[in-house]
Symmetry: C2
Subunit: 259 residues, 2 copies
């Protein structure tokens, strides 16, 4: 139990950590309840770039979790903080779904002047030549390129589909600029989560199912990491990796055992 000494808070990955598909991990409700009772701090984190906090919280509510919007941190939330902290004011958004609701100060405008950052997420059908070209022109005029993620593709219901990564790469190639990546496992993401939870890296453990985005990302900023054997966890991927979590537990339900 010594390895959790000094831990006062947790970042908990949503998809694969708290639930899989539309189903809560068995015992997850009780584990979260115990954290609340024992006064641990925690935030829920996700790399989704298509949904706003409200939509995520409503979905969690359908699964029986009573979680507030402030307890959820996603790339749009982290990007919004990054935009504010770096003094930027006018964003050109290339996102889809209702994610743009989380960009309170940002606005999207095809003909806008004074755009100082381009934010690109997994934008799906919102990607058109015209919108990419508009983003490109803003970048050539000095705007910063901010990527909510840089994944290659994801498994959509109808087959493999391009994520934001290819389009981020396209804009990097066209402009010669390098994107600032905001989602996990970037430091920007964990820095924001630590700021919101109000603890130092040594006081927080990241709980998730991904050896790279969760475990390696957390370890790099000095956090402890707990790999759960749910969601996308595969034994081989972990055994073949040089990345080692602080703990490995069968599921979130087993968290109380190592507190």
């Amino acid at each position: 139990m010594g390895r959790m000494k000094g831990i006062r808070g947790f970042l908990i990955d949503l998809d694969g950590g708290l639930y899989v598909g539309d189903t809560a991990i068995e015992g997850a409700h009780e584990a979260i309840e115990l954290l609340r009772i024992q006064k641990y701090r925690f935030r829920f984190v996700s790399n989704t770039t298509r949904k706003c906090r409200r939509t995520i919280v409503e979905r969690l509510s359908d699964m029986g979790f009573v979680i507030s919007e402030e307890e959820v941190i996603t790339p749009p939330v982290a990007a919004n903080a990054y935009v504010k902290n770096t003094g930027k004011e006018h964003c050109y958004l290339l996102v889809t779904g209702d994610a743009e609701r989380d960009f309170e100060q940002a606005y999207s405008c095809n003909d806008g002047e004074g755009i100082d950052c381009v934010i690109i997420g997994d934008a799906g059908d919102s990607i058109t030549y015209n919108r990419l070209n508009t983003a490109f022109r803003h970048l050539m005029k000095g705007a910063e390129l901010i990527a909510l993620e840089k994944d290659r593709y994801w498994m959509a219901p109808d087959g493999l589909s391009l994520s934001a990564g290819p389009f981020v790469t396209a804009l990097e190639f066209a402009t010669g600029k390098k994107a600032t990546i905001i989602g996990k496992p970037s430091e920007a993401f964990f820095d924001r989560a630590l700021y919101e939870i109000g603890l130092s890296p040594g006081q927080v453990a990241m709980i998730g199912d991904d050896i790279v985005t969760d475990v390696a990302g957390a370890n790099r900023v000095g956090m402890k990491s707990i790999l759960v054997r749910t969601g996308k966890y595969r034994k081989d991927a972990v055994n073949n990796s040089v990345i080692k979590p602080t703990y490995c537990i069968d599921s979130l339900a087993h968290l109380p055992e190592i507190l």
Copy 2:
């Protein structure tokens, strides 16, 4: 004059070499006429990926040049030859304009099975998420990625605009594949031109205004090169380059002087 010894044919760059904008280079008509009279072989080459041969020839005709379609070699023409020579049969085309007329055997089909190559050119508004994703899925099933060019951007009438390069890069990033580049200065392009002109590299000189795509590309395959001081020629770019043309002449009109 010794450096042109053994030269029996020429590749002549269209835009910047034979004309600029909509205007023929002064003296170009006479130079071409002289080549015909003296029985030199020649082909006109261009990196345009939007126009089919017929359209190019009609435009040349408007400028007073009587040139046949067979005398014009563009990336679509070279790609078509590449597709045939490598035994491919079913292409997925991502091009715009009337360039697809030059892909005689190829066809574009969003739901097609058995696509064995994806050909991407400067496709402008024809680029949509859905079409890129379809191309991506064909590539993941084994199709080869063929790029008509890999430029970053070009100067459209309304401002800088993305060329094919960013989208080629996007598909390379998504699939982990490397595109086969077909336009100048690729070897595939010059190989095709040499095949069509029916001469060996040492018998042909490339005439053009671009130190990289024309001069370096030609030199690399063993051809001689003649840089013309028209079109995009800039003295600085040439002086600062390690690439050296065999000859430098003021314009195509001066070609007869070095024959």
